[in-house]
Symmetry: C2
Subunit: 362 residues, 2 copies
Amino acid sequence: MSKLLMTPGPTNIPTEVQNILGQDMIHHRFDDFHKIMENLNEKLKKIFFTQNDVYTMTCSGTGVMETAVVNLFSKGEKVAIVNVGNFGKRFVQICKVYGLNVIELEYNWGETYNINDIKKVISENNDLKGIFVTHSETSTGVLNNIKAIGELTKNSDILLIVDVISGMIVNEFRFDEWNVDCAVAGSQKGFLLPPGIAFVSISDKAKKALYKSDLPKFYFDLKVTIKYYNEKKETPWTPAIPIIRAAEVACDLLLKEGIENIQIKHTKLRKYVEDEVQKLGFKLFVKNPEARGNTLVTVYREDNLDLTKLRDYIDNEYNITIAGGQGKYNGKILRFGCLGLLTIQDFNNLFKKIKKYIEENN
Amino acid sequence: MSKLLMTPGPTNIPTEVQNILGQDMIHHRFDDFHKIMENLNEKLKKIFFTQNDVYTMTCSGTGVMETAVVNLFSKGEKVAIVNVGNFGKRFVQICKVYGLNVIELEYNWGETYNINDIKKVISENNDLKGIFVTHSETSTGVLNNIKAIGELTKNSDILLIVDVISGMIVNEFRFDEWNVDCAVAGSQKGFLLPPGIAFVSISDKAKKALYKSDLPKFYFDLKVTIKYYNEKKETPWTPAIPIIRAAEVACDLLLKEGIENIQIKHTKLRKYVEDEVQKLGFKLFVKNPEARGNTLVTVYREDNLDLTKLRDYIDNEYNITIAGGQGKYNGKILRFGCLGLLTIQDFNNLFKKIKKYIEENN
């Protein structure tokens, strides 16, 4: 049975992309696959707004987060991590597993970071090697200002690593212009693709660190991935061929519509959702309008309406899936994903159903 | 354009499985996905011939090889690795990256291991923690006897880790009966699936090592994978949903045909291929008949026929893909994959074309 996914990923995907997934298998060590890899890279470069190559790996977003950590640093090196939610915290966990010296800049869920904290960390730690930050924090809906951090790191040796997994496509992101050194993305968010592959791009500045890093890695060794791409337009390990093939088609759809056009459309969609949820008695979880992204709208209530029951009702009754809260916000917030193919009409339909439910159950 | 893949993976896949890949997306944190994960585990247990759970991860076979290494051992521990080709060597590389103390038992390509070497290593190293061995070595076609090693490790603390990536399904493999402690498999070989997911199962004996291991890992942390499966029937990181869904259907097809029946069919197929290639003037690369597996038939020639040109001709002219040699055997051998849906009729057709080519070009 088909469901309308109104979560911050995975999303429903277009028919053109679904059709590609089921096509006859090809082999990843032959020219037809090499051409797909080369075309995909060129398209991803346009989406990342970068001149650097974008490498495709077979894993989830967490896999490329780990790839960034284990390839760009060495044991004991000092890094600062902006933690505004579950996925900022994930960078903290990964860096600690690999023995990095972590300065954690932790903020309350629903808040963005404070630029003065970043300035202070940089000025007080002249051995700082990197700053990790989440673009769109999927657990809260906060969109962090990446450009402002890039201004601070661009003339230094500090690497700026950005998790754009849920932020990419529907929110502005400029790898080169914003002086980003490493960006990691996942297929199942703004890309109109299923989960299963992830993307990583690094700057020339980051490449220098890459060849110095002493952390152990094998599957996620980016040097090997780069070597295989450069020499053969291949991946070192057997890749998720159907999803990579679908990615080329999905990128075509995105580029044809235009990344800026998509962002304008999703800004409108997100603002519509923000207005309508407030009419239904929800409060916006992200208080600062400047920190609200287009990936999702997160809400809570001040009355006693059971949000988990509401979510289950909508799912069971109407086959529409919305997301609850993660971690400590489980049961306390709802997250409306605004990614991919979703339209104002989809939300209009959803909100009518929610309105009816609230009238009958509150 | 469709190609007939006669390589040792990836393989062509059945229409029933292709159709599932393109189905409407579902979300991996909801009950419909939980049911798929639970059903898939039960089916994989039958295919692995084990009472232990079989966990599904989003990565290639190399990813689960790394999973075995980083989860079951600690830094500096001594392990023996049976290296009869490219994939035995890969275990050596991974173990060395993570600082294990590696005893490498290296054999010439085309040969299987010598059981006396294993006995000697065990008797001379009472601190030995594990033995790694490849079931079917994809680079050569050798099928190693796993049962014989399990007899040596079963009453000890030594863990037996087996790469069954290309060996599974078409060759006999008995996790429990053969006293295996960890087996890792990939989707794109005997499973009638595209690449993108991989499987891992561990014994109770291995579970004890799991909770002691001090090697760094995050994405491949099997403790977390087990916890998510046990508590929620979920994966910790967003999985390759379409391929997991397809896996349940593919396992149904395999179990309906019967694993033993498939093995009988593929033994016949492999023997047919062995007979016919010799009529065409090829020599079998694996000299010992006891060491030949059903996954692939590897051949070489003593005349000057250019095998790469032959392979390219068959690919370009007939859209049939066969595999060349890996590493030092590039251009020196051909590998005919006998996996999946391939039949005697397919090979009969191929050999007619090869015969014609040889007559015209030799």
